[in-house]
C-alpha cells in the first residue's frame, strides 16, 4: 500500500506539469506554401475548416502565397492536432509547431 500511495501522486504531478506546459506554450497551426494547391481552393478550405469569412480566409491564403507560410491559429495541443488533421485531409501542407 505504501508504494502505491507514493507512486500515484508522482504520476499526477508529472501529468499536471505536462498539461500546464501545453497550456503555457500552446501550438501554432501553420499552413505552408506549395506550388500545387489552387489559391481559390486554399481560401475555400480555410473558410470550411475555421468558419472564417472570405476576406479573412483570403488574407491568410495570400500570406501563405507571399511569405511561404501563415500562422492560422494558436491552440492547445489537442485543438491544434484537430486542425492539422482537418487541413491535411484537404491536402494542405499544415503542421503544428510548439510556440516556444
Amino acid at each position: 500500500m505504501s508504494s502505491d500511495t507514493e507512486t500515484l501522486p508522482q504520476i499526477e504531478i508529472e501529468s499536471a506539469t505536462r498539461v500546464q506546459e501545453d497550456l503555457d506554450h500552446g501550438y501554432l497551426v501553420i499552413c505552408w506554401d506549395d506550388p500545387v494547391n489552387l489559391m481559390e481552393y486554399v481560401t475555400h478550405v480555410f473558410q470550411a475548416v475555421f468558419g472564417w469569412n472570405k476576406e479573412r480566409a483570403k488574407r491568410h491564403m495570400l500570406k501563405v502565397h507571399n511569405n511561404g507560410r501563415s500562422v492560422l491559429t494558436r491552440e492547445s495541443m489537442e485543438r491544434a492536432e484537430h486542425y492539422v488533421h482537418e487541413l491535411q485531409k484537404y491536402n494542405l501542407q499544415a503542421t503544428m509547431e510548439r510556440d516556444r
Binding site: N37, H44, Q88, K89
Partner: protein, 155 residues
Amino acid sequence: MKLLESTEHDLIFGMTPSQQATFERILREYPVNPDKQTAISRTRDDDELTEEQELLEEAMAERRTDNRRDVRNFLREPGRFEQQDDEVRLRLRRTRVNWLLEVLNEIRVGHWHQLGSPEIEETVLTPENLEQYISMQLSAEFQMVLLDALNGARE
C-alpha cells in the same frame, strides 16, 4: 462543365458526354499516391509528437479508404448523370461539393507528387509523364468549376 442551376440544397451542372467521360475517368484514378508521407510538424524533436504523428497517418489512411469507397458509390449511384438531349446533367448536394473538391484535389496533388513536386509551369513534359500532367490539370479545371459555383452561390 458549367453550373446550370443553384437551388437551396443542390447545384446542377451541365456537361458534354465527353466531359462526363473525362470527369469519371479522373475520379476513378483516386487515390493517386496513397503512400504519400504526411508530417504533423516540421520542427519536432524525435520524441515529441510521436503519438500525434502516428494518429495523423492512421487518420489519413482511414480517410483514403473511406473516400475510395465513396467515390465508387458516387459514380455508381443511379441518376447521378442524367442525359438531356445532347447534354449530361450532374446534380450535386451542396454538402457533396466540398467532398468532391477534396477528392479532386487529392488526385491533383497525388499526380504532382508523382511528377516530382515541380513548380507547375516548370514541369518538364515527356511522353511518359504527359498523361499524368494532363490529369493533374484537368482535376484543377473541375475544381475551379466547383469553386466558382460555390462562390457564386455564396454571394
